[in-house]
């Protein structure tokens, strides 16, 4: 037990935060406001509260307001953080503010439930005397079709507007329509009763999904002047005269009734390029100038005018020619004021810089939309804009990019037609140098060599004339012997032969000289025979008849053949 006590104390210290919920009154009438407070003691941060369970029976008019206070009690500092709301009960009867889950500094706590006694509202201000109406122009629409909701305040009593809580309906794209601010009261009669009417708020709602959609009610807080209740029945001042001096100001909350809108899907036949445009539209496209030069900017305007859900869809992507640079468009929207139908003018500005000269068509814009009036899909197109881009002057000469003059002339032309007759085929890869090229080279080389070779040849012939003679000496000698076999001839033939064959450079030829020159070159016995023959010839020349010419010629022939073999 002794151990337990400090633990409990410690626990209390840690979980020192406590949360209390409180209201300022718990007896009230419907449409009367009350203040709901949640106070967290010793909290470092503002408590976080989930108010969802509360909203079933109560409506939050304003809040929360935050407040932090410090207090010194008995020398001990306490701090508290308070959140305050202004609430209004939704119905009469015994209502309960349920236990709310509060998170303080990461700790989850719960408040205690509070009972509220809500009386009927009748006696304070009659419902007929002050009410708020939401007027809907149509309660069955297509997706994207406009529903105009007008919130009007009808009053027959003295009142002033305190606070308006504008509705934020889920499932709609909301565009506010203009109403006079501050609200202007007009007089109107309903069933013979005069009312002051003011339009507080007007919106164009565009449903974004199908099904039953509920409009969030609008809540208005106002101060109403009502005569003070007589506390004492018999009073001196119990006189109508005094009543006007003792008016009381009562805060009253007005709410519109919940309204439902049925959203229908589109009928069949939705075009492929339908992007959700509903209404009636007109498309125009234009350029700011028709004198265009390359590298100079042109503005391409696309304008969409009409009535409908103008902000809810996008234009199809434009495919500009690749020969121009396109900058992302700037979009602007101009709403027509004071029109109940959401009407306006959307404008896109594309900056284009053509890079090539020539004729270019800017893309046409096609938009498919649904017209809820005739319940049909329509398609509109802008006219195509033609641009005649002339080349910038400096470009023709410098030619940095784009076409040259010659190329522009080619732009309209077609290619020439095929070759139809079969050519002489060249086998693939045989990229040979033609034969006549080689021939030509060889001929040229020949010409260079010609003079050289000719000179050489001549010199050679001159140089080898003797040799050639010696080679043919025997042949000539034998021929000579055959044709003329006289002794004189035999002798001279032998001498000539010897002279040619051994190139003996002398005029005086006799056997002695021959012996002297040829000894050692031919064998001695042959030399001897030759000398003998020569001597015989000489002898025969001077003493004819010893030997027949035929014999001598024959012997000479055989001998010369023998001798020649040694040369």
């Amino acid at each position: 037990m002794r151990l337990l006590l400090p633990i409990i104390l410690l626990f209390q210290l840690v979980s020192g935060q406590s949360v209390t919920a409180s209201v300022d009154v718990n007896q009230l009438a419907v449409n009367e406001t009350f203040t709901f407070k949640i106070e967290a003691k010793d909290a470092n941060n503002m408590p976080r509260i989930n108010l969802a369970p509360l909203e079933k029976n109560f409506t939050i008019i304003s809040g929360p307001t935050q407040q932090t206070s410090y207090q010194w009690i008995n020398g001990k500092a306490t701090s508290s953080k308070t959140l305050t709301w202004t609430l209004v009960p939704n119905k009469k009867g015994q209502l309960t503010i349920p236990a709310l889950a509060v998170t303080v500094d990461g700790e989850k706590l719960k408040t205690k439930p509070i009972r509220m006694n809500v009386k009927g509202s009748g006696q304070v201000v009659n419902k007929d005397e002050l009410f708020l109406l939401a007027e809907i122009d149509q309660d069955e629409v297509y997706v994207g079709e406009q529903v105009t909701v007008t919130y009007k305040l009808y009053t027959r009593v003295q009142m002033s507007l305190e606070d308006i809580k504008y509705p934020e309906s889920v499932g709609f794209w909301t565009e506010e329509l203009s109403v006079p601010r501050p609200p202007r009261f007009n007089q109107t009669t309903i069933n013979g009763v005069l009312y002051n009417v003011a339009t507080l708020y007007k919106v164009a709602l565009f449903p974004t999904k199908t099904g039953e959609l509920e409009l969030t009610p609008m809540t208005v807080r106002c101060n109403v002047q009502i005569p003070k209740k007589r506390k004492r029945q018999r009073s001196v001042f119990d006189d109508p005269f005094f009543n006007s001096f003792f008016n009381e100001t009562v805060q009253k909350v007005l709410r519109t009734e919940a309204r439902r809108i049925r959203v229908k899907p589109y009928p069949a036949g939705q075009p492929a390029n339908f992007t959700g445009a509903v209404g009636e539209f007109k498309l125009t496209a234009s350029v700011d100038t028709d004198k265009v030069k390359t590298n100079e900017a042109v503005t391409y305007y696309v304008e969409l005018q009409g009535t409908g859900n103008l902000n809810m869809f996008s234009l199809p992507k434009l495919n500009f020619p690749e020969t121009m640079d396109v900058f992302p468009p700037t979009a602007s929207f101009e709403q027509k004021q004071l029109w109940d139908q959401f009407t306006g003018n959307m404008k896109w500005e594309y900056i284009l810089i053509p890079r090539q000269a020539g004729r270019v068509f800017l893309p046409r814009i096609e938009l498919a939309y649904f017209n809820p009036k005739d319940e049909q899909f329509h398609s509109i197109r802008s006219r195509s804009v033609e641009l005649n881009i002339s080349p910038a002057k400096d470009q023709l000469t410098s030619g940095t990019s784009g076409f040259t003059k010659e190329e522009i002339a080619l732009l309209g032309q077609d290619i020439h037609y095929n070759v139809t007759s079969s050519p002489t085929w060249v086998e693939r890869g045989s990229r040979e140098i033609p034969i006549w090229v080689w021939t030509s080279y060889i001929l040229a080389a020949g010409l260079f060599l010609a003079p050289v070779t000719l000179t050489r040849y001549q010199q050679q012939r001159i140089a080898t004339a003797g040799q050639r003679m010696s080679h043919r000496a025997l042949k000539r000698a034998l021929k000579s012997l055959q044709t003329q076999s006289s002794i004189e001839n035999v002798s001279s033939t032998i001498y000539t032969y010897l002279k040619e064959r051994w190139q003996l450079q002398t005029d005086k030829m006799d056997p002695l000289y021959v012996e002297q020159e040829l000894s050692g070159i031919i064998p001695p016995e042959e030399l001897e025979d030759l000398i003998q023959l020569l001597k015989d010839c000489d002898a025969g020349r001077y003493a004819p008849g010893i030997m027949t010419d035929q014999d001598i010629a024959g012997t000479a022939g055989i001998l010369l053949k023998k001798v020649d073999s040694h040369a």
């Binding site: 190329e407 077609d414 002489t424 086998e427 140098i433």
Partner: protein, 246 residues
């Protein structure tokens, strides 16, 4: 003798086959079946080549809207017949449909003339002129040697022809180097991202090119080639997006 005969027969066979394919391609073309026409011509290209074939192929691709392939075919055709007017005309028209336009700043006039001349001749043309001039040099030399021409005239003529010969052969060599060492290609994919590395990485995209653009191929690696554009921009593209001209 028999081998020669066989070879002759074989080449005849190829020629007749080629003729029929060519005729079929033309037939398809007239029938506006350009895809089939192009296919016929491409098949024909496996075995034979001719400027006219490339020309017809280019026309088919042009009609199909394949600007890249059309440019490729015309360029190939011009390699064979650089002065073919039809090919030049059609290439010019096709080039107007090429998105990327790279223009040089105007260069030195003489250099332009030189390039124009170089591009309008094939190597064989140049070799022919070279050999003719060399032949003339030889002729003048021979005539001079045998005193048919005066000494002064010989020297003058010879100098002229020697200079012309060297010039022509120089151009020829230059052209040969162009072909051998600067392989070119034509972009055939509609639009190609050029990366700074041979890999697909979005942050490495240097620039973007489109079909029909001619580019020099500097190196290749796996399935990538590095290209350099006329204006000096460099980058890597997948090998199947470019069709080499060599």
């Amino acid at each position: 003798m028999r081998i020669l005969y066989l070879a002759l027969l074989f080449s005849n066979l190829i020629a007749s086959n080629a003729d029929s394919l060519f005729v079929r391609g033309n037939y398809y073309f007239d029938d506006e079946k350009y895809v089939q026409a192009a296919r016929s011509y491409e098949r024909l290209l496996n075995s034979v080549e001719h400027a006219d074939l490339y020309y017809n192929l280019g026309n088919s691709y042009y009609r199909m809207g394949e600007v890249g392939h059309a440019v490729w075919a015309y360029e190939k055709g011009l390699q064979f017949e650089p002065r073919n007017r039809d090919i030049k005309h059609n290439l010019e028209i096709t080039n107007t449909r090429v998105k990327d336009r790279i223009d040089f700043p105007d260069g030195f006039v003489l250099l332009d003339w030189y390039n124009a001349y170089k591009n309008s001749r094939t190597i064989n043309d140049l070799l022919m002129w070279g050999s003719v001039f060399l032949l003339l040099v030889g002729l003048v030399y021979v005539l001079g040697q045998f005193r048919f021409l005066g000494r002064q005239t010989t020297v003058k003529l010879q100098m002229t022809f020697v200079i012309l010969t060297i010039l022509i052969h120089g151009i020829c060599l230059d052209k040969y180097w162009d072909i051998a060492e600067k392989p070119e290609g034509v972009i055939v994919s509609t639009s190609v991202n050029v990366y700074s590395v041979p890999a697909v990485r979005d942050e490495m995209i240097v620039f973007k090119i489109h079909e029909g653009l001619k580019a020099e191929i500097t190196q290749s690696q796996d399935n990538w080639v590095e290209i350099i554009l006329l204006d000096g921009k460099k980058g890597w593209i997948p090998v199947n997006t470019i069709r080499p001209l060599s």
